[in-house]
């Protein structure tokens, strides 16, 4: 065990630190949260600058514009961008951390060529179409139908919680291609070009009053067969590649945000009892960061550890504690969301953390059954 970074990694850190100092100096102010066009421009501009400087797709293959850098440099990147308060993925979230990695793992050469470089350059924004009104925790019960018609799938159904649905160029879409097969066996993973006829996107207003989520209505949308990633009816396995990734490292970005937030909150925390709670929360966040280092080390060595199954559950639960502490500390300043700092808005946002990408209850089922080997509940 050794937390020291190699000379190469430290050189990477020094270069990055210098680059960030210059790059952040002339960064435009962050646009209004409801101005989706401006947010897309702002986030994709930053992504383009990362790409030009050689910091995009650190863990993606070189032939598609990535850096194939060692995992330790991804950690250095996260540490330094956090410290410098650089923008994080923003509207590029699904492309960089969800759909992109799925295409890296499961896509054909043509699919990789068509999408990965564009995602890394900030030229292609992705949204997600997994959940349905009737398929949440039981995602595999999804009912959006895709019927093969020559070189196309004809897709009809409804999706909900589509992250970045308003501005996505492509959607990662799960559809049912075999309604007679057992529910996990009849699902296919499609890339959905969002400009096809028959797609209606309706923004979904959340507890924040607005959001990055949308509902997606699909009415006989003709999706070319070459948009299929993986085999027909093998989409559940393809999805699990993505979900495993999501549980593993995708949430590092949220952890980074939480770490920033707790440091920002600290100066407001004066009551001794609240300071003590702050200490507990920081201890949890530090440990989750240490677990991330453990996961990165193990994945670099090809070891399948328990950590990736624990990160999301642990961070989302501590975020709830932090949100409640912020509200107690701010007292009557919480009566306006946009008052003192980002804390009230972040408290509202964090209500979703223990729900999205598998509720805490589902996470505990997965941990109990797949990691601890406890028997499944009869279902």
């Amino acid at each position: 065990m050794d937390l020291r970074f190699s000379d190469d990694d430290e050189a990477f850190r020094a270069d990055l630190r210098a680059w960030l100092q210059t790059a952040l100096a002339d960064l435009a102010p962050q646009p209004d949260r409801d101005d989706w066009h401006a947010r897309r421009v702002w986030d994709t501009d930053w992504q383009r600058r990362l790409f030009d400087a050689g910091y995009a797709g650190l863990n993606w293959p070189k032939e598609y514009g990535g850096q194939a850098a060692p995992p330790s440099q991804q950690l250095v990147f996260l540490e330094e961008t956090t410290r410098a308060r650089a923008p994080y993925v923003g509207v590029n979230f699904v492309g960089l951390l969800h759909a992109g990695p799925t295409i890296v793992a499961e896509g054909t050469a043509a699919q990789k060529e068509a999408h990965l470089p564009k995602i890394l350059r900030g030229e292609e924004v992705w949204c997600q179409g997994f959940s349905e009104p009737g398929a949440g925790s039981d995602l595999a019960s999804l009912r959006t139908r895709a019927v093969r018609d020559g070189d196309h799938y004809v897709v009809t159904g409804q999706k909900i919680w589509c992250s970045y649905g308003q501005i996505g160029d492509f959607g990662e879409l799960l559809v049912r291609t075999d309604p007679d097969a057992p529910k996990h066996k009849g699902i296919t993973w499609l890339m959905l070009p969002m400009d096809l006829p028959g797609i209606e996107v309706r923004p979904l207003k959340t507890v924040l009053g607005s959001s990055e989520f949308a509902e997606l209505f699909l009415d006989e949308v003709r999706v070319p067969v070459e948009c299929r990633v993986g085999e027909e009816n093998d989409g559940w396995r393809v999805t699990n590649v993505t979900l495993a990734f999501e549980r593993g490292t995708a949430f590092v970005s949220d952890l980074v945000d939480a770490t920033r937030l707790v440091e920002d909150l600290a100066p407001y925390v004066t009551d001794p009892g609240h300071r003590r709670e702050l200490g507990h929360i920081a201890a949890d966040l530090d440990a989750i960061w240490a677990l991330t280092k453990r996961n990165v080390t193990q994945s670099a060595r090809g070891v399948a550890g328990r950590g990736p199954f624990m990160i999301k559950l642990a961070y989302s639960e501590v975020c709830q504690k932090m949100g409640e502490l912020a509200l107690k500390v701010l007292e009557r300043d919480i009566l306006t969301v946009d008052g003192e700092g980002p804390f009230v808005e972040e408290r509202l946002r964090s209500l979703a953390f223990t729900i999205a990408a598998g509720t805490s209850q589902i996470q505990r089922n997965i941990l109990g059954e797949r990691v601890l080997g406890l028997p499944r509940e009869p279902r």
Partner: protein, 307 residues
């Protein structure tokens, strides 16, 4: 950056684990601490790890295994010392109880408020009565009459003594927390109610999942703190040590409570080992600063704090 056990550390872990399993089965552990326990651990090199060139990260690996096996004794105080040693925190106002006092050669009398420590031969103390009903049956306690203590100053700095004690205590607690999670999972697999293993019910499964997460977070926090002790340039020493002690102490206590719950009525019996782990965890909470102390200390290192 290689934040996982090295091959040498895996070998060290396996070696100490087989020693603990071979020499300290639960029927012997239930017999409590005596000179033979100390002699066998000393012979295995447990207390002289640092002198023998091992790192604090190695020591954390070893003490975690001692905790898994619930090996009894003042093992943290004995670390780095040849004579059998216990410790007494003179800042704990009103308490005159000292663990293992009648079984040791030396007592380290510390006062964290004044950052002081003295090594006192037990003959120099007036040892009072042994308590008849100790909380932890494997941690016997004696009363002490603290008059005119004569001793020699501890070797090294008080801060080092305190931090190293917190680290090794945390590591031992991680081992207990991990073992408790295993015991609960095993029991949840075998215990049948309503015609099925109780571990198939989400209410029980989720208790087990939370136990595993607590143990794992406490482990990585403790190992990270050990790495920082080994190389202070890799992190914030006070912050990481306090975080480790908070999480490990709470993981041991909360996993003790959850394991008791999973075992149900059997968990309330003397026969099942769970209570021995839980009681030890409560004892450790009184040593080298409890969760409140360390949560406050950690917060003091953050913006707006007064460290």
């Amino acid at each position: 950056m290689n934040f996982d056990l090295t091959d040498d550390q895996l070998a060290l872990r396996d070696g100490i684990r087989s020693l603990v399993e071979g020499r300290f089965p639960m029927d012997r552990v239930r017999g409590g601490f005596d000179r033979s326990v100390h002699a066998e651990l000393a012979e295995a090199g447990v207390f002289s790890l640092r002198a023998d060139g091992f790192s604090w990260a190695d020591a954390a690996v070893v003490y975690e295994e001692l905790g898994r096996g619930l090996v009894p004794g003042p093992l943290v105080w004995c670390f780095g010392r040849e004579r059998i040693t216990t410790g007494y925190d003179a800042s704990l106002a009103g308490s005159d109880l000292v663990e293992f006092l009648g079984l040791v050669d030396d007592v380290v009398v510390v006062d964290p408020r004044r950052s002081q420590g003295l090594v006192v031969p037990v003959e120099a103390l007036e040892v009072g009565e042994q308590a008849t009903w100790p909380l932890d049956p494997l941690t016997p306690v004696w009363r002490i009459q603290e008059h005119g203590v004569l001793g020699s100053p501890i070797d090294g700095s008080f801060a080092d003594l305190w931090d190293q004690g917190a680290l090794l205590t945390a590591a031992y607690c991680v081992g207990m927390a991990d073992r408790l999670a295993e015991m609960a999972v095993d029991y949840a697999q075998e215990r049948q109610q309503f015609d099925r293993p109780i571990g198939s019910f989400q209410a029980v499964k989720h208790l087990c999942a939370d136990m595993a997460v607590r143990a794992e977070l406490a482990r990585v926090a403790t190992q990270a703190a050990a790495c920082v002790l080994d190389d202070p340039t890799t992190g914030a020493r006070d912050r990481s040590l306090s975080g480790a002690k908070v999480l490990a102490g709470e993981a041991a206590i909360l996993n003790g409570r959850s394991a008791t719950q999973v075992y149900g009525g059997m968990g309330f019996t003397w026969e099942v080992d769970v209570h021995l782990f839980l009681k030890r965890a409560w004892v450790f909470e009184t040593q080298f600063g409890g969760a409140d102390h360390h949560a406050d200390a950690l917060a003091a290192t953050m913006p707006g704090g007064h460290s």
